[in-house]
């Protein structure tokens, strides 16, 4: 057994099954990314002990917290796992200071000493000036900072963050994100999010959940530059086509052939082709020359994307073109288009990652 977190969890809820295994090394922050309903929050609840998994084994720093085979399930208050939820959930009947002092008080620290601990952590999140206020008189961002201080004050061995920034106004999120980055620097934490920026700023590694299963995991940089799942590609703003590797390209699941730069693919094995929307040219007539890749599609939507126009195809591909080009082509929703991509712009690599790449980082990689 090793230090850090090992969580293997199976939870069945009607049609939905969460079946995921996640490891977090000491000092590491792992982001769990996925759509709503992918099982992210269920995973956290099982680790925190708020939900009993149907099957599973959860070990934190050599302490077995859950082991369904042995009928063992440690109560949440004995796990030393802090939870920061989407809502701050500050206790409305206690002052900010007593909210933060709640954790130390709960484990028997005297009031005065507990308040000293609380003041220390309030200072850590730069919220000392709110100490005497009632939670109802704080803004969302202030309340979430206090909630973070409260979680830290209970001195958890593991911190779980369940979309801690998603309920905040856009203007407050960046400040709290930097604060989290600072606070998490020497801690072990699991951050659930559906925003790529959280993974980029906070996490050393990411785990992508889809339909209750881990579809992809690896170092943040790696996953975002070479995504293997549709969700990770979408997060990274890349086009992804899955299929099987062919000689010099990819046979897509829908029968299309894509030429590209292959990298360690095995003929006939599942692979993905990935390219940026900027590399896609859009035509409204069948191409006359002999381009490397042509995909016939229909325009599903046109959206602004910075100074460019993003053309979303009905098949799920995206292309970025200039507004002038969009006007010139007379693009509108529903019209037939031919998407061209140069082979040199298409990276093709195996869908399944080698086992050596998914082990937790032993030492933190620079962010």
């Amino acid at each position: 057994m090793s230090a850090g977190l090992y969580a293997e969890v199976v939870v069945r809820r009607g049609e939905f099954t969460l079946d995921a295994t996640v490891r977090v090394a000491p000092g590491e922050v792992v982001a769990v990314l996925g759509r709503n309903g992918s099982g992210k929050s269920t995973l956290l609840a099982a680790i925190a002990g708020l939900l009993r998994p149907d099957r599973g084994r959860i070990v934190l720093d050599d302490r077995v917290l859950t082991d369904t085979a042995a009928g063992l399930a440690l109560a949440p208050h004995r796990r030393r796992i802090g939870l920061l939820a989407q809502q701050p959930l500050l206790f409305p009947h206690l002052s900010v200071l007593d909210n933060v002092a709640f954790g130390p008080r709960a484990v028997g620290t005297r009031r005065r000493a507990a308040r000293d601990v609380a003041r220390h952590h309030l200072a850590e999140v730069d919220a000392t000036q709110f100490a005497r206020r009632r939670p109802g008189r704080l803004s969302g961002g202030q309340a979430q900072r206090v909630a973070l201080a409260r979680a830290l004050a209970s001195d958890p061995e593991l911190l779980l963050l369940d979309e801690p920034l998603s309920a905040l106004d856009v203007e407050f999120a960046p400040a709290l994100r930097s604060l989290l980055q600072k606070v998490l620097a020497d801690r072990i934490a699991l951050v659930v999010s559906h925003q790529v920026i959280d993974a980029l700023v906070l996490a050393d590694r990411v785990v992508v959940l889809e339909g209750g299963r881990v579809v992809e995991q690896g170092r943040t940089r790696e996953v975002l530059s070479r995504p293997r799942s549709a969700f990770a590609a979408r997060l990274a703003g890349l086009n992804l086509v899955s299929g099987t590797a062919t000689e010099g390209g990819l046979g897509a699941d829908d029968g299309t052939e894509l030429a590209g730069l292959t990298d360690s693919t095995v003929l006939g094995a599942p692979a993905v082709a990935v390219f940026t929307p900027a590399a896609v040219a859009v035509q409204v007539h069948p191409p006359t020359g002999n381009p490397d890749n042509v995909i016939a599609d229909r325009v599903a939507a046109l959206e602004p994307n910075g100074t460019m126009v993003r053309v979303r195809g009905a098949a799920g591909l995206a292309a970025d073109i200039t507004p002038a080009a969009a006007v010139e082509l007379g693009l509108r929703s529903g019209c037939a288009v031919w998407l061209e991509v140069k082979a040199a712009e298409v990276a093709i690599y195996p869908m399944h990652v080698a086992a050596s790449d998914i082990n937790p980082t032993q030492d933190r990689n620079p962010r």
């Binding site: 925190a48 109560a75 206790f91 409305p92 709640f102 709960a106 484990v107 009632r134 109802g136 979680a151």
Partner: protein, 254 residues
């Protein structure tokens, strides 16, 4: 154009009370409310209402927790059942109690045969009738507070290291205290005003089962002034109850 019907509604509530105040025999007021029968009825009302309210808290409290936090099937159905005394005419409730615990009711017959205990037309019957009609007020208020208080605060407290007992003491109870308070006060008020179920199940024996509302009803035949004076006493109690028991919300809770 909402203010006209709104004014009518408000008038319907306020004007009768004003009518009572205007018609009150102020010169004889002191003597009327301190007559022997009035004091006896008032004392009985306060005693029975207090006991009934305690019973509501003792048994309705746990029921509210079960309804708010339980995970057994059929909970929705149980929740509606609890509302029954609220919508049932009290006199029907009194008759129902009589045919359960009266000498011809199965439970009443069993009690009589086994222990020689007869419940109807005793002070205990008054308490039972009041508890029956007042229970929903407590359960509904407390259940509402438990729901808005939410399990999420309790879960967070647990992750902060608090044992279930600490969570109950420092989170759950403080959070539902306003709801429990207003529920208790409303129940007490309902007990104090109880008439129909009491007269059907407990009758009207002075000093034993004749509570203030029953005394007012009887007095109305003999001495309307006395009835008005006693009614005003109940009006004052009701106003105090509204001021004290008005449901308040904690900042940040809602």
């Amino acid at each position: 154009m909402l203010w006209l019907p709104a004014l009518v509604a408000l008038g319907l509530i306020v004007l009768p009370v004003i009518g009572l105040v205007v018609r009150a025999p102020w010169s004889r007021f002191g003597a009327l409310v301190t007559s022997e029968s009035a004091l006896s009825a008032l004392g009985l009302s306060l005693r029975t209402a207090t006991v009934s309210t305690l019973l509501c808290v003792m048994f309705g409290g746990p029921l509210a927790v079960v309804l708010a936090r339980g995970a057994v099937p059929g909970l929705r159905f149980l929740r509606s059942v609890v509302l029954l005394p609220l919508v049932l005419p009290p006199v029907v409730g009194g008759l129902a109690l009589l045919y359960l615990l009266g000498i011809s009711g199965f439970a009443g017959y069993a009690l009589d045969v086994a222990f020689g205990v007869r419940v109807p037309f005793t002070t205990a019957a008054v308490v039972l009738a009041q508890t029956f009609v007042a229970m929903p007020f407590l359960v509904v208020s407390l259940e509402g507070a438990l729901r808005t208080g939410g399990e999420r605060y309790e879960s967070i407290a647990a992750t902060l290291g608090a044992t279930p007992l600490t969570v109950l003491r420092r989170i759950t109870v403080p959070l539902v205290l306003p709801g429990l308070g207003s529920g208790t006060v409303l129940s007490f008020a309902r007990c104090l005003g109880e008439f129909g179920a009491t007269i059907a199940f407990a009758g009207s024996l002075q000093g034993v089962t004749r509570t203030l509302p029953l005394e007012i009803y009887l007095e109305r035949e003999v001495d309307p002034d006395g009835a008005i004076a006693l009614s005003l006493v109940l009006v004052v109690v009701a106003i105090v109850v509204i001021v004290v028991g008005r449901p308040r919300s904690l900042p940040g809770l809602r």
